[in-house]
Amino acid sequence: MRITMTVDGTSYTDDVEPRTLLVQHLRENLGKVGTVIGCDTSNCGACTVHLNGRSVKSCSVLAVQADGAEITTIEGLERDGQPHPVQQAFHENHALQCGFCTPGMIMQSIDLLGDTPDPSEEQVREGLEGNLCRCTGYQNIVKAVRAAAGELGAKR
C-alpha cells in the first residue's frame, strides 16, 4: 500500500505491506533508528513517538494507519542544534543509564508536560506508567521531568 507521512519535518511516500508496524517503517524504511523496539506487547513504551501531536506506542500502530499523519520521533526534537529541554533535563539529572528506554521516556515525558505543565511527583510517575526502565529505578527520570517542567515554565 502506498502511504505518505511526515516524520520529523520530512515528507515520505512509500509502498509498505499492510502488516508493517509504524515502528518498523520508521526504523527500516526511513532510517529513524533512534526509535527502538523493546517488546511485543506494548508494555515497555520504548517505541513511543508522537502521532499528530499525541504520544503513541509505534509498535501498536500499523504504518498504514498512520497514512497522512505527522510523526515526531526522538530524532526530531532538537531545535537549532539545541536539545529539547526534556532531553537536556534527562542529561543533567542522570535520568538514563543504558539509554535504551530513553527515546520513549523522553517522548512520553514531553506529552505528559503538554497536558500537565507542572506535575507533582505522583503525576509524573502516573504519566510514565507505560514506559519501563530497567536501569534507573525511575527516581532520576521523575526528577528530570519535574526539572524540565520548571525550565519550560520559565520559558513561557
Binding site: 505491506e17 502488516r19 526504523r27 529513524k32 533508528v33 533512534g34 526509535t35 527502538v36 523496539i37 523493546g38 517488546c39 511485543d40 506487547t41 508494555n43 515497555c44 520504548a46 520521533t73 526522538i74 530524532e75 526534537l77 532538537e78 536539545p83 532531553q87 537536556q88 534527562f90 542529561h91 543533567e92 542522570h94 538514563l96 543509564q97 543504558c98 539509554g99 535504551f100 528506554c101 530513553t102 527515546p103 523522553i106 511527583e121 509524573v124 510517575r125 502516573e126 510514565l128 506508567e129 507505560g130 514506559n131 519501563l132 526502565c133 530497567r134 536501569c135 534507573t136 529505578g137 525511575y138 527516581q139 532520576n140 527520570i141 521523575v142
Partner: protein, 788 residues
Amino acid sequence: MTETVDRELGKARTRKEDARLISGRTRWTDNITLPGMLHMAILRSPVARAGIGKIDTDQARASSGVVAVFTGADLAAEQGSLPCAWPITEDQKSPNAPSIADTTVNFAGEAVAVVVARSAAEARDAVDLIDVDYEDLPVVLDLETAAGDEEVIYPELGTNCSANWVFDSAQAGSGGDVEDAIRDADVVVRRKFRQQRLIPAFMEPRSVLVDPTGPQTTMYSATQVPHILRLMLAMSLGVPEHKIRVIAPDVGGGFGGKLQVTPEEFLTFLIGRRLGKPVKYTETRTESLLAAHHGRDQIQRLTLAARGDGTITGLKVELLADMGACLRLVTPGVPILGAFMFNAIYKIPAYHFSCTNVFTNKVPTDAYRGAGRPEATFGIERMMDELAVEIGVDPLEIREKNWIKHEEFPYTTVSTLTYDSGNYEAATARATELFGYPELRAEQARRRENGDPVQLGIGVSTFTEMCGLAPSRVLGSLNYSAGGWEHAEVRMLPTGKVEVVTGSSPHGQGHDTAWSQIVADRLGVPFEDVEVLHGDTQISQRGMDTYGSRSLVVGGIALVKALDKVIEKARPIAAHLLEAAEDDLEFTAGSFGVRGTGAAGVTIADIALAVFAAHDLPDGAEPNLDSEASYDPENFSFPHGTHLCATEVDTETGAVRIRSYVCVDDIGKVVNPLIAEGQVHGGLAQGIAQALYEEAVHDEFGTLTTASLADYLVPSAMDLPRFTTDMTETPATSNPLGVKGVGEAGTIASTPAVVNAVLDAVRQFGVRDIEMPCTPQRVWQAIQGGSK
C-alpha cells in the same frame, strides 16, 4: 597531585555518553545494516522435553525470500557445545549443550530450526511453516523432585545432580564444627527459603550480526563480554582467534543477562560463515524472556545457632540450585559465589555450606545482578530477623551484637575472605537517623494497638558483598577457567588529547565519564580531552569485560597503573626539556616542574607534541608516551551498607506499599556520586522487584507462562517508591583509589529489607514466612493462616 584530585575525583559530572543517547544517535546492534545482509529467525521448541522426530522444512524452504533452513542435523558436525567456564568440582556432570537441538529438546524455547531469509518478516513467516514431530518425554521441573532422580533427564549422566560443593570451616581451619555449635546452642533457628527464578529483562533485546565478508569474521553483539565471547567462539567452534573480531556496540543493559556466550551468537556465526553473507538475528521480547538465561532459583535450608543473648555460634547452609537444562558460561559457579557471603558482616565461629547443583527442563540459569550474593544475603538477613524475633530483641540490636566492629578490620571471616575495611556502625547510624527509626517503630506500635487495617512493618538489611571480581589466584582455586585481571591502554595524541582503551566493556554504567575523570585527575588534562574506547576487539585486544561490580575496582585501577606509566615515560623527557634532573621534578596538575622553584614547567601535552616531533628527545628515548597496564587485584573489595524499609501492608487485600526506603551504602571512595547514586537506585528497583513483583513461572508442562512483559512484572515508576540514599566513605585499602564497587549493592541489599518489612507487619498474625514475590494474594493468604 592534590589540586587535580580535588577537582576531578568525586565530582558529580554529567555523563559524556548521554548526548547520543538522548537524541537517538545510537548504535544498538539492531540498528546496524550491512550490504547484502540476511535475517535469521528461530523456531523454538514449544515443549520442555521431547525427542525430535521428523522436521519438515520443505514448505519453509520454498517460502518467498528464504535462502536457507537449518536444523540440528545440518549443523551437528560443527556446532560443538556451548561453553561452561566454571567446572566447580573435578567430577561435575555436564550434558552436551548444543546451540540448536539435534535429537532431543530439554527446555521450552530451545532452538529447533533456523530460517535465513531476505527480510526478518519472511524469515518469521517461514518459521511458521516448519513442522516438527515432538515425541514427548516426562518433564522434570520441580527442583527437589529433580534432585531425587525419580526421572533422570540425561540417562548418560545417571543423575540430575551436576555437582555437590562443600565448604566446612572446621575442615578449612577457619572456624569450628557447625554440628557442635548447633548441638550446644541455646537457640536454633531453622528455615527454608525459596529464591524464585528471575529473568534479567534488560531493555534491549539481544541482537547479533555476523559479517563474514572481511579478513576477520566480525560479530556485532549486544553482549557484556566481547572479549570472552571472542575467545569462546574460537575455542568452541575451532575458528582461529585471530580470524574473529567481536564488537559490542551500544548495549542496552545486561545485569548479568548478557554475560553469556549464547546459542544465538553461535548460530549466527556458523550460518553467516557458511552462507558467506552478513546475517542478523534480533530476538523478540518473548524469545528474550524464554531463551536468554534466567537467574536465582535456589532452595535454601538454613540453620542458625546462637547463645541465649543472641550471639551467633554457627551457621549451616544447604542449597539446592537449579541449573536449568544445561550449564552455560558460569552457571555452576553462581551459588558458589554465595558460599563466601552467607556469613556476611558477622562474626560466625562455625560455618558449613553445601550446595547441590541440579538439572531441570528449564532454560539454564546464570549470572543475574549480584549472582549468588543476593541469594546469600537474603538468606542470612532473613535469618537475622528471625533470630531477633526468637530472642526478643530489635533486629538492629541483634546485628550490632554480631557484626565485625570497625576497629577489628582487617578481619578474616569464617569463609576465609579478608575484609580490608568497613564501618557498619557509621552506615547504620546514618541510616537510622534518615529513616526516623524510633518514630516509625512508635507508629507501628500504635497501628498494632488500634488494629489498623493497614499495618506497618520495618525491615532491616545490613549487607556486604565481595566485589571487584576477582583475584586470578582465587578464581583458579575455585576452578574457574579464566583470570580476573583487567587491562587499560592510554594513547597520548600529539595535540595533548588522550584516548583510553579499557577492557571493561560497558552497557550503561557510564565508563566513558568515570574513566575520563580518572584520566583528568591523574594526568591533569581537561575532562573533555579524553575519549574512552571499548567493546571492539580490534581496538581493545585484552579485557575481561563488565560484571561483578568489577569495572572501577579492577579496570579503573588498571587505568591508573597505565596512567602512571605515561607519567613515568614522560618524566625523563620533561627533565631533558627543562634541563633539570629527573629527581628534582614534580608532576602537578598536568605539568612537570622543578620542585620548589614555582617556575613554569612543561605540560604533559607539551611533552606529547615533543614526543611526536621527536626532534629533541633524550638519547635512547622511545618517541611514544603510550602505555598499557594489566592489573590483577590482590583481594576482593567489600562494599557494605545498611538498608531500612518501611512497608504498609493492607491486611484486607494483602497489598504491600513501600512507605519509606532508606539506604546508606559505603562503597569507599566515590569517583562520580551522580553515577554511583544512579547505580544504587537501579539496583534497589531490581531487588524490590524480586521481593514483590517478579517471578518466572512455568506450568506443569514446563511452558514459561510469564513470557511477555504483560506477565513478567517489571515494575514501572508507579510501582516503586522514592528512595532516600546516602553514603558513608570507608576507603578500600586494597587498591590505590580506595574504591569498592557499586553495581550490585542495591539489588543485593534490598530484597531482604523489603521481605523483612512485610513479615514484620504481619508476624503478629502468626505468619512465619511468605514466599517471594510477596504478592497480595500470598500476603493475604498468609494472614488468613492459609500459608504458613
